[in-house]
Point group: C2
């Protein structure tokens, strides 16, 4: 981090926002599209989700080609681009496809940039609400319907008082589901199906834990950047770095992280 | 319905919107309130949800006292008011308390007015997104981030192609859960925990089925008004009117309604 000058930090932050700005109109053009009401076959193979997904990532790659041509790219929809600068952008144009096709505004555009390992800054953007959660280089904030607010995880909750969000039972193996349920049985409230928006709520101090499985690097690097900048912790289910994806445990505090990790390790081992 | 003149219809519609307008600032004042980050005990019994809930309903009752003093009121938070006009307003100031306390913008303010039986018009309002789904007197529309759009349920999906939303497993008895899961096993996609927003998505043609249990009149009359105006069907699990609450089955089409009803009846009896 000490190698990234303030000027470069500002450029990376501006680029992250420019990427999200470029993706917004493309994803919104197809969100709640009446064409999605038709069966895919009846509509002759037209698939608005794929079109939106690829279109949004293409728009973001065009921004990078212009602003940061030497940076690498790891995106969901197209081939990776090797980095010549040491920086790599990690892009998920629509995280939460099931939300997107159902009209629920809890999907998001995920952007992060890393210098080889974990992300140095990133964001979670929800275009329909017009809400963007940013984290990195000492800043953590959301811009949304209520203006700009600082992001900060909440403190002082025990596992028994915690709120846990997840995409289980839609994701994960049976064994992973068992481990998830072992934690769920110990918390106050478990809520389901909120996709990447759950990470934003954790960073915003609204919930305490997120547990997921089967994630890719592009699903998790934006959230890691936002949550870490807000004071939270994101690892895999063994406590190791998870920026390459896999089983994810995100927690507001070290105490909650340790408590959930112990249960996951015991059950999933 | 033939007894309600166009002038009276316009007055009821304007009143419904005035009620939602009155509730919005009250619910938003406490949504994502940092005070909610504190444990209730530590905060000395201060409960932002209860304050927002009661404050929003009080604001709505003040509107009715001014505009429609002879109408009855059935609200979640205060005592019922008997109707002298034949009309009764059914109010849920915050439907989806678990969403509200978790920061997820899928809670809503529910408003309906009935003439003794089912609602004649009603709405689902999501203050944080700034989105309002209205139905009644031949109109069905949403006002939101993308402007005003007509609401219409989608057609032509079989049960195997359907998207089902629910608050199970957070609600319901074990027997109700079993019946729910029997339907869930037959659909393409099941999503969880979206509260009243699920009804709005059904009216908007984004999803096909909603199954809930243990609802009250104020949980369901706003949604019934919106969904019926958009062409959908809402009954209990036996196909009977459900405006007094209970087990709810909402469907986009008569075919999907019949298919889900058959499974619920077989399992739940």
């Amino acid at each position: 981090m000490q190698d990234i000058t303030e000027t470069l930090q500002a450029e990376l932050i501006a680029t992250a926002h420019a990427l999200a700005d470029a993706a917004r109109p493309v994803t919104l053009a197809h969100f709640r599209d009446p064409a999605m009401q038709a069966d895919n076959k009846a509509a002759g193979g037209f698939d608005p989700v794929t079109i939106a997904d690829r279109g949004a990532e293409a728009a973001m790659r065009a921004v990078l080609a212009e602003r940061r041509p030497d940076d690498g790219i790891l995106g969901e929809e197209f081939e990776p681009v090797a980095s010549r600068s040491g920086f790599t952008w990690v892009l998920d144009p629509i995280d939460g496809t099931r939300s997107y096709i159902s009209g629920t505004p809890t999907w998001g555009v995920l952007v992060a940039v890393n210098a080889g390992a974990g992300p140095v800054c990133g964001l979670i953007d929800q275009p329909y609400i017009g809400e963007r959660f940013f984290g990195g280089f000492g800043a953590a904030y959301v811009d949304g319907p209520l203006g700009r607010k600082d992001l900060s995880v909440r403190q002082g909750r025990s596992l028994a008082e915690a709120t846990l969000f997840t995409t289980f039972p839609e994701v994960g193996t049976p064994a992973e589901g068992e481990a998830f349920r072992a934690v769920s049985a110990k918390v106050k409230l478990t809520r389901y199906g909120t996709d990447c928006y759950a990470y934003a709520l954790l960073a915003a101090g609204q919930i305490d834990l997120v547990i997921e499985a089967g994630l890719n690097a592009f699903d998790v690097q934006g959230p890691i950047a936002v949550i870490e900048a807000a004071g939270g912790i994101v690892t895999d289910w063994r406590g190791n770095p998870v920026h390459d994806g896999g089983q994810v445990l995100a927690a507001a505090t070290v105490e909650l992280h340790a408590a959930a990790l112990a249960i996951l390790a015991q059950v999933h081992g």
